[in-house]
Every structure is written in C-alpha cells, then in structure tokens.
C-alpha cells in the first residue's frame, strides 16, 4: 500500500490487524497475562485466609489488583518487539498522525491482554466468594477500567522502551498513576453492595476512560518520539 493511497482509517485498521495477527501467532502473549491474573488471584486466599467471609470482603480489591498487575506485566510487549525489529520506526515515519496509530496499537493490546481478564473475572470472583448482586458492576467497571490501565501503562512503556532492563522502573512509573482507576473501580463495587445508585460512579469511570483516550495516546506518541530518536 503506497503512502499516497493509504487513508488514516486504512492505516489504523492495518495496524490493528497486524498486531492482532502477531498476537494470534504468538500464543504466549495471548495466554500469559490471563494466566498471571488467575495465579495472582489464587495467591490471596492462600496468603490471607481461605474463610469465605474474609475473602468476600476483599474480593473486589483482589480482582482489581490482580488485573492491575496483569496489565502491568503485559505492557512490556506493547512496543518492545516492534522497537527491536525496527517496525516502530517505520510506524513513526508513516504520514498519518502517530496518535491514531498508537491508539490502534493500544486497542489491539487491550483486546489481547485486557479483555480476556474481564471475561474470566466473574469465574475468579465466584471462587473468591464475591458478594452476589455486584457481578455485573464488577464486569462493567473492569470493562471501563482496564483500557485506562493499558493507556496509562503505554506512556510508561513508551518512555522506557529503549532501556535494557526496565521491569521495575515501569512499575515505579505506572503503578502510582493507576491509583485513581483502582479507587474508582473498587469504590463502585462497594457502593453497589450498599445499594447506592451506580450512574454517578460509572460516569466518573467513563470520564476517566474518555480523558485517557484523548490525552494518553498523545503522551505515548510524544514519548515514543523521544525514545526512538
């Protein structure tokens, strides 16, 4: 496809397809975040208490923290392979705004690493004796919150993509920034259980998602330009 003929929508779809295809060929990327999520959630009953009541009380937090850690772990392969084989540079040379290409990459990454976690969360929630009546809220908040985690994490990865060993520094940069999402997610679940109206809480999570969608790819794109320079 020559640059003259390619449209912005075409470029976005091509980036999306390419990333999904790569993920499909490398099944590890598809499977690992999901496995990590289940494993971390399993550690809590073992580490804290197998009592159903105690577990039920902390289950929302456990699920959110596991999702946060899984998303952090998965972030690493968002740009790394592309940086190493040079395709990231080609992406940046394309005539289309990097904002949309970054957004496409983030969306593909979330489909691969975030969505499976959201889908499996009711099962893990059941195992943790999650209180009945908040399942739909849990899935809904995770659905709104995990993309925000991916978008925020993308900034950190983009800043550190040139580094050899970056496991910890990525966590140090990204985890404090993820706190508002964690608070909004767990608070929404606990408010549902108290019978409060959900619309306000979901609106705040929605606002976080919209703000992250509009601002985070800009920061990621700027960070990529700095790192790949």
């Amino acid at each position: 496809m020559s640059a003259a003929r390619s449209t912005l929508a075409g470029a976005v779809v091509a980036t999306l397809r390419r990333d999904l295809l790569i993920a499909y060929k490398r099944k590890n990327d598809l499977f690992n975040p999901f496995m990590f999520f289940v494993l971390v959630a399993t550690l809590f009953p073992i580490g804290i208490s197998p009592e159903p009541e105690a577990l039920g009380e902390i289950s929302a937090g456990v699920l959110w923290i596991s999702a946060l850690l899984a998303s952090l772990l998965a972030m690493d392969n968002l740009y790394r392979a592309d940086f190493e084989d040079g395709s990231l540079e080609l992406l940046m040379l394309s005539p289309h705004p990097l904002y949309f290409l970054v957004l496409a990459k983030n969306f593909a990454h979330w489909l691969v690493s975030g969505l499976p976690i959201v889908l499996v969360s009711p099962l893990i929630a059941y195992m943790l004796n999650f209180p009945e009546g908040a399942y739909s809220t849990l899935v809904l908040t995770l659905l709104l919150g995990t993309p925000v985690l991916s978008l925020l994490g993308s900034i950190g990865v983009a800043l550190t993509v040139g580094l050899g060993s970056r496991g910890l520094i990525l966590a140090v940069i990204t985890l404090p920034m993820s706190v508002p999402v964690l608070i909004a997610g767990t608070l929404t679940v606990s408010q549902t259980l108290e019978g409060a109206s959900l619309s306000g809480y979901l609106a705040i999570m929605g606002a976080m998602l919209v703000a992250a969608l509009t601002l985070a790819p800009l920061a990621s794109a700027a960070a990529l330009r700095i790192s790949v320079n």
Partner: protein
C-alpha cells in the same frame, strides 16, 4: 515586545552569575524570617486548648506540606519550557527539583506523622491527603529513577520533562480521587483578621513568617543545586575553568 530577558535564561553562565548575587540576600532573609517565626511560634503563640504544645508542629508541617505541593507544577512548567524552547536551564531545574521534591514530601509526611501520633493516636492512617502525598512521593521517585536509568542526557531530559507534565496532571487526579475515597485529615483552615476569633492574627502571623522562611529555604536549595548541576555540565567551558582557577 522585547524578548531578550527571556533569552538570557538560556545562558547557564548568566544565571550562575546572577544567582550568585541573589544568594546572600536570600540567605539573610531566610535566617531572619526563620528566627522570628520559630521564636514566635514556639514561645509566644498561645497553646491550643485541645492539642496543647503538640499543635506547634503546625508551624513546620503546614509550610513544608504546602511547598511540597508546588514541585509537580514547577517541574511541569520547567519541562514545558524545555520541550518547547530547548532551554538547558529548564532541564537542570527539572532534574534537581525531582530529588528535592522527594525530600520535601518526605519531610511533610514525617512532620505530619509526628503531629498525627499525638492528635490521632497513630503514626499513619490511610487518609486522603496522606495517601495522595505518599503517591506524589512515589511519582517523584519515579522521575528520579527514570533519569538515572536513561543515561543519555538529551533523551533523558526530554523523557523526564514529559513524565513531569504527565505526573502533574496525574497528581491532581490522584488528589481528588483519593479525597473522594477516604478523608480524615482536617480541611484547610480559614484564617481571619479579627483578633477575637479562634484563628486570629496571633496564630497566623507567625505562620506567614514560617511559610516565607520555608519558601526561601526551598528557593535557596533549588538555586544551590541548580548552580551545582550547571558547574557539572559546563565543566569543559572556559568560564567554569576560569572560576575553578580563581578559587
């Protein structure tokens, strides 16, 4: 409009010479304010009817906590100046402000804990303001460690400037979300000019001296570390060599 005043800031040498002239004045003003503030606050301010003598740490905690909130806006501003105009001095400020901010934040947390152990009966609670200040501390350490990890100075400078801007926005979001989550900390107090009110001038005038003293202390530390960093970076420049030869 004449922009020469702005371009002058692009010259580290100019700043080094100018700040050298400011420093004695700043130090003198700081020592004066600190002496007045400390004596007044510790000896002459009436005791709080509930908290007794413990309340006097208020005069340390409030200035330090308020200055620690200024670091992210400062770094974001300097970072923007660096990204837009490529001004080296702005990057020096971003670099030295991060560890300094972490120290001030740690001081605010420590003085707050000491106050809290007497009034709340505990060194630490997961209260909104404490938590958001702790997270700000982590974010500042994140900026410091990003700078250390990216050794390449030009890339590290731009990356840290960007992270400071992102962090500044994030600190605001964190602050509101954490307040919304859990709050025990007393809200900001309104002070009044009337002498018969609870928070009259005899309470807040020494506080103003302390706030000015701590702000001056902050300015002096920032200038000193900026000068230090300038000398480090410009060590091959002729004016630095002349300076070293003279001393």
């Amino acid at each position: 409009m004449d922009w020469t005043w702005f371009h002058k800031w692009g010259s580290p040498k100019w700043f080094y010479e100018l700040s050298g002239k400011w420093l004695p004045w700043l130090v003198g003003a700081m020592v004066t304010c600190l002496l007045i503030g400390v004596t007044w606050a510790l000896l002459f301010v009436p005791q709080d009817y509930q908290q007794g003598l413990t309340n006097r740490i208020f005069y340390v905690h409030v200035p330090v906590a308020s200055i620690s909130l200024a670091f992210f806006p400062l770094m974001a501003m300097a970072g923007t100046i660096f990204l837009v105009w490529r001004m080296k001095l702005a990057d020096v400020v971003v670099k030295v402000a991060a560890p300094l901010g972490a120290w001030f934040t740690a001081l605010a947390l420590a003085s707050g804990s000491i106050w809290g152990v007497d009034t709340w009966g505990t060194w630490w609670v997961w209260d909104g303001r404490l938590t958001s200040l702790l997270l700000q501390f982590f974010l500042l350490l994140g900026v410091v460690s990003l700078r250390t990890a990216l050794e390449d100075s030009e890339g590290a400078a731009r990356a840290c400037a960007l992270l400071s801007i992102v962090g500044c926005i994030n600190v605001v979001v964190i602050k509101y979300s954490v307040d919304w989550w859990n709050t025990l900390h007393q809200p900001s107090t309104n002070f009044t000019l009337a002498t018969d009110q609870a928070n009259g001038p005899e309470i807040w005038v020494p506080l103003i001296f302390m706030i000015v003293a701590v702000y001056l202390f902050f300015a002096i530390s920032l200038i000193l570390s900026t000068r230090n960093e300038i000398l480090q970076r410009e060590k091959r420049a002729q004016w630095v060599r002349d300076l070293v030869a003279k001393s």
